[in-house]
Point group: C2
Chain length 231, copies 2
């Protein structure tokens, strides 16, 4: 990304990132998009195979204005993507969603969910540059727990050869957010049904050490540190 583009506070709204409904929920704010992406563990990666859609959950990481996913070199979507120069990349849609609450309205029609999602359209390309591959794999480990990449054995040559990394630039991207209480019809407000929000959140439990973990290895601080804001 150029410095100019990365300094703009918003992504550009284009045809396929402009919603046809609930437009008030759409946002192109760069910081909001980054925060939603950084908070997730798993994205849903969509691609087309034999003319039909496929949606698979997979780990991902953000590095600046680029997302990375990885997998076995034997996996179908990764094998289908070229490096974007000699062979074309793979058309993908990458979506990350957080459910924040269940919204109960007096009417069935106005039931909803509070959520934050990001949808990225684009062409994912195989990462072939060794330096970018290493940085991407570090980012994937650090995305889950910041600091972890420096505290594990890096991939060796055999493992690197077995790992495919795809990159997707944050260009065609939009966020969608619904928050707050239910919105009922005025004539429904006096109905005898409870209305409000049941919050939902993702929490972490106590770390469970592997059975074969040596007693001399203490739990690292990053394991129980609170996720940083926006993570």
């Amino acid at each position: 990304m150029s410095a100019t583009a990365s300094q703009r506070p918003s992504y550009e709204a284009v045809g396929r990132t402009t919603p046809t409904r609930n437009r008030d929920r759409a946002s192109y704010d760069r910081d909001l998009v980054h925060a939603i992406l950084d908070e997730g563990y798993v994205c849903h990666l969509g691609f087309v195979r034999d003319g039909a859609p496929v949606v698979l959950p997979t780990l991902y990481a953000r590095a600046g204005e680029r997302l990375y996913v990885h997998g076995s070199t034997g996996s179908r979507p990764l094998r289908a993507a070229g490096d974007g120069t000699e062979a074309p990349g793979l058309a993908v849609c990458l979506t990350v969603t957080h459910v924040d609450g269940l919204v109960l309205a007096r009417s069935a029609f106005h039931h909803s969910a509070n959520y934050r999602s990001v949808v990225v359209h684009g062409e994912a390309r195989q990462v072939t540059d060794p330096q970018e591959r290493t940085a991407a794999l570090d980012a994937l480990v650090n995305h889950v727990l910041p600091g972890r990449a420096a505290d594990c054995r890096p991939a060796d040559a055999r493992e690197l050869a077995a790992t495919a990394v795809l990159a997707l630039d944050l260009v065609e991207v939009s966020a969608k957010v619904r928050s707050g209480p239910p919105v009922d019809e005025p004539e429904d407000l006096s109905l005898p049904h409870w209305a409000g929000v049941l919050p939902v959140r993702s929490t972490r439990g106590e770390p469970v050490p592997a059975d074969d973990l040596a007693g001399t290895v203490a739990a690292p601080a990053y394991l129980t540190a609170p996720r940083r804001p926006g993570r």
Copy 2:
């Protein structure tokens, strides 16, 4: 679904529900598939638009061997689907994923996530039968909180006309599950890096009543009841 099919304990493995890797994680067990589906709030619905994949988060519900999603009649995927008789349905891939834990291995390569996911391929069709539409909308409300559909105002004619409902039969369906500790290379076991699982779970907070909720409306029991097993 025929009675025979619904009595089989497993779905049939077909071409696109047979994974090319991590085959030991795949399952076609009907009860497992149902439990994963019933526990989720949001699915990721994939379809193809202008040759490119689109993945959108949306609420859903299961009724027996059929899934329902709904939305505005103005929404693009719903508008694109016929009723499967006069006009063809919409080719979709519907995926539900639960992240259960972050798996930290001694090696970067063996980092993973514990998760349970279900992927459904098929042709979604518009539900046009009034009775099935009503039942589907009830299922969508009850999916979030069992019992809620009977404790809110049902959709009126105008709301029904504005709501599109898609049905997707559970035929081409598979689950994928990873659980348990990290699997490290034997020669890595003595490395001085913590290894184990950091559990992740979705929890519900205290209900937040709407500001305009009359003081005479008590919080219903279903609001704070523990989700039933598999939900």
